[in-house]
């Protein structure tokens, strides 16, 4: 499958601060790619370089066959991390205006805007001003504004942030719909669950560097399966179970611990459970867990994706 986006050895420096270092990956046409990493990992800088809003310090980016995102900006849809629209405009006018900047005739933009607003359940808000809409509604309007011109490549920077669970689900459906219509979607997030549900491929970024590139299944496979045990069990007792290669105490209340026991290659949960009962351990809960993308991320990078990696120094350097 042909690549819609290629990054080859891309780096970005802001003075002394290295935001992105030697980043290379590809996104195939018509796929959904998750660009994952904690806040401050370099996702927004990378997206801005892809769009051509910022130049690269080193390396090369090719998007939709062009070596500069600005040359193909009409074929790209972009939803930035921090969102906003003209407060005094109506949703239809705002969508049509941003569509017109991408080459969509104003009249056609209005027609599509009305259709898409109806489809998103915002038909009743078409004539309201943006400032009268709720945050969730405004975010939907902005997403529509980003894709009203039917772009071939859609870049969404933290699209789920600030949305309630219902709207997050709705947005997932929109992203799937875009891909089903043939668009390539790259979205950044630090919430791994969205990526797990949506992505054909994920790129993990930590401290400006790529930590992983592949499918969600491949990412999970890099991490060990584990047992979750709860009871009055010592960590050493759990570590002695067959197949267990390491134990982490997750919590402890009144001598009752929740333990996370990693299973080594070929380790079997049933054998560990049998040994626990035979050994007389006080097992009150036992669960065999497949690693999540979150676990994989921590395993691959040693970082928690929920922890902000941006620093004051980095901000100052920018």
């Amino acid at each position: 499958m042909a690549a819609a986006l290629t990054l080859d050895g891309v780096s970005k420096r802001y003075g002394e601060f290295q935001a992105v270092k030697d980043l290379s990956f590809e996104v195939e046409k018509g796929t959904i790619c998750g660009f994952l990493g904690p806040n401050g990992a370099g996702k927004t800088s990378t997206i801005r370089m892809i769009l051509g809003l910022q130049g690269v310090s080193a390396g090369r980016i090719v998007i939709l066959g062009a070596d500069d995102g600005r040359k193909v900006r009409d074929r790209i849809g972009f939803l930035p991390e921090e969102r906003g629209l003209y407060k005094k405009m109506t949703p239809v006018d705002a969508i049509a205006f941003f569509g017109s900047l991408k080459g969509l005739p104003i009249g056609e933009g209005r027609r599509r805007a009305r259709e898409m607003l109806d489809a998103q359940g915002l038909g009743a808000s078409k004539r309201k001003k943006m400032k009268e809409l709720s945050k969730g509604m405004a975010q939907k309007v902005q997403l529509i504004a980003a894709v009203v011109h039917r772009p071939e490549f859609v870049i969404l920077d933290e699209p789920f942030s600030g949305l309630d669970p219902v709207n997050q689900q709705g947005l997932e459906a929109v992203i799937r719909g875009l891909a089903a219509d043939g668009a390539t979607v790259l979205f950044s997030t630090h919430v791994m669950q969205h990526a797990e549900r949506l992505c054909d491929k994920v790129v993990l970024l930590a401290r400006g560097q790529k930590a992983f590139e592949g499918t969600v299944t491949e990412a999970r496979a890099t991490s060990k399966r584990f047992l979750e045990l709860e009871g009055a069990i010592e960590a050493a007792e759990a570590a002695a179970l067959p197949g267990v290669t390491g134990v982490e105490v997750v919590s402890e209340i009144d001598g009752v611990r929740v333990l996370k026991a990693a299973l080594g290659q070929g380790g079997k949960g049933q054998e560990a459970l049998r040994a626990a009962f035979l050994g007389g351990l006080d097992v009150r809960r036992f669960e065999l867990r497949e690693p999540s993308l979150h676990d994989a991320f921590i395993g691959l990078t040693g970082d928690n994706p929920d922890v902000d990696q941006s620093t004051k120094a980095a901000e100052a350097a920018r």
């Binding site: 809003l53 629209l85 407060k87 991408k102 980003a146 920018r318």
Partner: protein
């Protein structure tokens, strides 16, 4: 339609469709009219004060008559001044002298400030003392019926042969009667001194009534001789043009600053940058606000012209002649273009770094202080357009548009005009380049605005 025009159209529409814009647009001429009309209205609606005069005993004899004479002379002088002004205006415009608007206005302004009324008997019949004072108080307060109420009661006397007066006034802060009485008594005293020195009273009266007739001539006047209002008008128009240009440019640039700040704070700039280049956005916004500024100019100009031709058609014709001859309008357009470009792009670049007006204060404070300088210098240019300081400051690009347009009616050397204008446009282009870089960097930056950050953005690339 290309992106620049789309952005310009949105920018124009965003303001032009609001009621607030049209209200604020009308506010300037309204306040200008009020600023000029209110003092006139106050003067023309000033009450004619009712004043009673009492001579306190035989030693004060003749002082009341002196006050009455002084009041009559004052009325004659005012009438003469009103006639003279109307005649000069008629001579300047070439229109026949007659009862016109200007003469009517002058007549209105020359109303007497006070009139003498018969002294109430309860004051005149009482001897000086607490009872008389009580009677005076009654007539000066609201206790007395309106038709019997007085604004002032003046007791005239002589002490050591010199005229004196006690003035009771209804309003402690109103010194009109006090000033008039003092002047009248001074005049009476001068007359008495001259007469006691043996000078004929008729001669003294003539001397007191004399007012010198001074005419001004200049080889630069239109007639080559006597200076008329028409000769002074170009300088006034130059100064007004300078102020108008200053107001328009600062209004336009401030609209742009607020517009960019709003887009920055609402996180719209980044979306715009993904759809159009920084140059297209900046150009579109500058163009849109330029159209707004022209709308403001057209509205102000239209209102001003209509008011001028309605209330003073002769003067309106003169203003029209001056604006249309000598390329004044063309110069105005050129200086407006250069000045607007310089300030608009600078303000837009500053706005790209700011989310609130407080953020902008770091850079706007010094800029606004600098902008006060041409306001002061322009007033100097009205009387001495060729003063070295005015000429030198005309060459500073930031001041060129305002000072040069203010100097244009005095026909400065063409080399100065062309040179300063070339410098202004060269500097404007430099500003466009600097502001373009700063705008692009500022639009995506989270750093707080400072001179260092601004300079860094200009130096840095994409």
């Amino acid at each position: 339609m290309n992106r620049t025009l789309l952005i310009a159209r949105r920018e124009y529409g965003a303001y032009a469709r609001t009621v607030g814009f049209w209200l604020s647009l009308l506010a300037f001429p309204l306040f200008a009219v009020l600023g000029g009309a209110v003092p006139l209205m106050i003067r023309s609606s000033e009450p004619v004060r009712a004043v009673a005069i009492v001579e306190e005993g035989p030693q004060a004899s003749g002082l009341a008559a002196a006050v009455r004479d002084s009041l009559r002379n004052d009325a004659e002088r005012r009438d003469a001044r009103a006639r003279e002004t109307a005649e000069k205006a008629a001579a300047s415009t070439g229109a026949p002298a007659g009862p016109g608007v200007a003469e009517g206005a002058m007549a209105g302004l020359s109303r007497p400030k006070m009139r003498l009324v018969a002294t109430p008997t309860d004051i005149s019949t009482l001897p000086a003392g607490p009872e008389q004072d009580a009677a005076v108080r009654r007539h000066l307060t609201d206790e007395t019926p309106k038709e019997q109420r007085l604004d002032a009661v003046v007791f005239l006397n002589r002490a050591d042969g010199k005229p004196t007066a006690r003035v009771w006034t209804a309003r402690a802060t109103d010194d009109t009667v006090e000033d008039f009485i003092r002047e009248a008594l001074n005049s009476a005293n001068r007359k008495a001194v001259f007469e006691s020195a043996g000078i004929d009273p008729g001669v003294v009266d003539q001397t007191e009534a004399f007012r010198a007739d001074v005419s001004v001539f200049s080889p630069k006047s239109a007639s080559g001789g006597e200076v008329s209002f028409r000769d002074k008008l170009p300088a006034i128009i130059g100064l007004a043009s300078g102020f108008l240009l200053w107001s328009l440019i600062i209004t336009g640039a401030s609209i742009l600053l607020n517009s960019v700040m709003e887009e920055k704070s609402n996180k719209i700039l980044e979306v715009l940058l993904s759809s159009a280049s920084a140059t297209e956005i900046l150009t579109g916004k500058v163009l849109g606000v330029a159209l707004l500024t022209l709308t403001v100019l057209a509205a102000w100009g239209g209102i001003g012209a209509a008011a001028l031709f309605w209330f003073a058609p002769e003067q309106g014709g003169m203003v029209g002649d001056i604006l249309l001859s000598g390329g004044m309008l063309a110069w105005f357009g050129a200086f407006m273009l250069g000045g607007y470009l310089m300030y608009a792009v600078l303000f837009a670049a500053i706005g790209a770094f700011c989310e609130t007006p407080r953020d902008a204060q770091t850079l706007m404070g010094p800029i606004m202080m600098i902008l006060v300088i041409p306001m002061i210098t322009m007033q100097m240019a009205l009387q001495t357009p060729d003063a070295p300081v005015v000429r030198i400051m005309s060459w500073i690009p930031f001041f060129t548009p305002f000072l040069m347009i203010a100097r244009m009616p005095s026909d400065p050397p063409l080399i100065e005009v062309i040179g300063a204008m070339a410098g202004m446009f060269a500097f404007a282009l430099l500003m466009v380049w600097i502001a373009g870089r700063a705008f692009r960097a500022g639009a995506l930056s989270d750093v707080k605005l400072s001179w260092k950050a601004f300079a860094g953005a200009v130096r840095g690339g994409r």
